[in-house]
Amino acid sequence: MAMPQTNALSEESPSTADIAVSARNVSKNYDNVEALKDLSLEFPRGQLTSLLGPSGCGKTTLLKIIAGLLEPSAGTVHVNGQAVTGPGPDRAFVFQDFALLPWASVIRNVAFGLELRGVATSEREAIAEKYINDVGLSGFEKSYPHELSGGMRQRVGLARALSVDADVLLMDEPFSAVDEQTRRKFQEDLLSLVANENKTFIFVTHSIEEAVYVSDQIAILLPRPSRVSDIIRPTGLREKDLTTIRRDPEYLDIVDEIWTSLKTYVE
């Protein structure tokens, strides 16, 4: 299932770029389910890579293996050249269901990663304050998660991941719980984060449009057996004006190609 070559695909080969995270021949079996089989994929530093694929193809599994939360049945993951053996300060996870402490205020939730790393109270709250401000939640420091909307909770989870200043941000469908307007706002915010913070983003999504809109590189995962079926690099789009990108023929072409290749698995 080769993708037709378009000018959207970059000439630049990922192997020459600086690689922040690489998964080599990773397999993962849950009892009888083969979630991942011999998967290899590289994530260039400072860029956003999307994992796109049908439900159950192993996106969350791959993300958790990179995070060190799951052990692969075979293969290795390297982050900054070091083999992953467990969670580490170089990676931060943004959870699909937010994973906020319901008994803690917004500021304690945002500072929780720093709290676990032993940063002193005043220092960690100053850092948390900054990121609460960055994600647009200032004024809600003393609120509790149940007093926030889904989108606001997601921003708390994002601020928490940003505040530990990890090199790699792992985001599992971070925008799936928000409405369409908020989602578009988040996508724009995400693009400016990628541009301003020198971090590597690994981003799981169900939405083809979202993947094409925000990604430097899209890995298309297919199930049974799970593998990377294609890597698409819409680098041409990244130089274009964000406000008109959704009408851009190149954008529409890429969305269409991905849809064609995924369609067979949806039936």
């Binding site: 958790k64 995070a67 060190g68 939360l69 969670p87 580490g88 300060p89 990676r91 931060a92 996870f93 959870f95 699909q96 269901d97 994973a99 402490l101 319901p102 008994w103 929780f112 990663g113 709290e115 676990l116 790393r117 509790y144 149940h146 530990v164």
Partner: protein, 250 residues
């Protein structure tokens, strides 16, 4: 309840039962039932006596120590059982057996093991309270949102941090529910223990009063104990309602 359009305070029916008691006492129906007014008069008399205050002190001491051990041992045990499959498999049958066992029957054995004193009473109290505390803490941990644990783990939490910053707080509403029922059971435990080991606290008082057929004294002490037990349970129910407010928002 409303009568003739007037809202009566809770438990005002107790007045009616009190009156009935008074009448039965006045007509001298039985030697064992003195009039309620006489019982209350005796109550105020004996509250000041050294024997009563000593019994009160010993009972509180045994009760508070017993509850303390039940909580301090019960909560961590329950949390560990909720976290660890193997430990859970090992301990759960015992917890369930002791939860429903007639613990009163164990008291004589405890007396043989730990002597006829305070130690046995404290252990009896703990044994009455601890099982439900364990079971509730365990249930609280088992319903924890898995991703909270993964979150703590991903930010590098040690086992102790996961325990003290996640498991305990996430299970808190269930834990407090267990503590409330446990404390009510402890009230039973401390009294039953004293009655069977009748040389300390209220056990000694009861022994003294009933041996001398001092029925007014006997009833007076009984009323004090019932009132105490009821008050403790109401206070805990109030605290629990306040926590379940937050639990509902999880």
């Amino acid at each position: 309840m409303k009568i003739f359009g007037i809202r009566l305070p809770r438990m005002s029916s107790l007045i009616l039962w009190g009156l009935l008691w008074e009448i039965i006492g006045r007509i001298e129906f039985s030697f064992f039932v003195p009039p309620l007014s006489a019982v209350f008069a005796t109550l105020f008399e004996i509250i000041g006596t050294a024997a009563f205050q000593k019994a009160m002190y010993e009972t509180s001491y045994a009760f508070i120590s017993g509850v303390f051990f039940a909580i301090v041992i019960g909560i961590p045990t329950g949390i560990i059982m909720g976290k660890n499959r193997l430990i859970d498999e090992l301990l759960l049958p015992w917890v369930n057996i002791f939860l429903s066992a007639p613990l009163t029957a164990l008291v004589p054995v405890l007396m043989v093991l730990f002597g006829f004193g305070m130690k046995s009473i404290i252990i009896t109290t703990t044994l009455f309270a601890i099982w439900i505390i364990i079971l509730n803490a365990r249930a609280g941990v088992m319903q924890i949102n898995r991703s909270l644990i993964e979150m703590a783990h991903s930010f590098g939490a040690s086992s102790w941090e996961a325990f003290s910053k996640i498991y305990f707080w996430a299970a808190l509403p269930e834990i407090l529910g267990g503590v409330r029922i446990g404390v009510i059971r402890a009230v039973k435990g401390v009294i039953i223990g004293q009655l069977l080991i009748s040389i300390v606290g209220f056990g000694a008082l009861f022994e003294l009063y009933s041996a001398n057929f001092l029925m007014k004294h006997f009833w007076a002490v009984l009323i004090v104990l019932f009132a105490l037990a009821f008050t403790i349970s109401e206070v805990l129910a109030y605290l629990e309602r306040r926590v379940s407010y937050y639990a509902a928002k999880r």
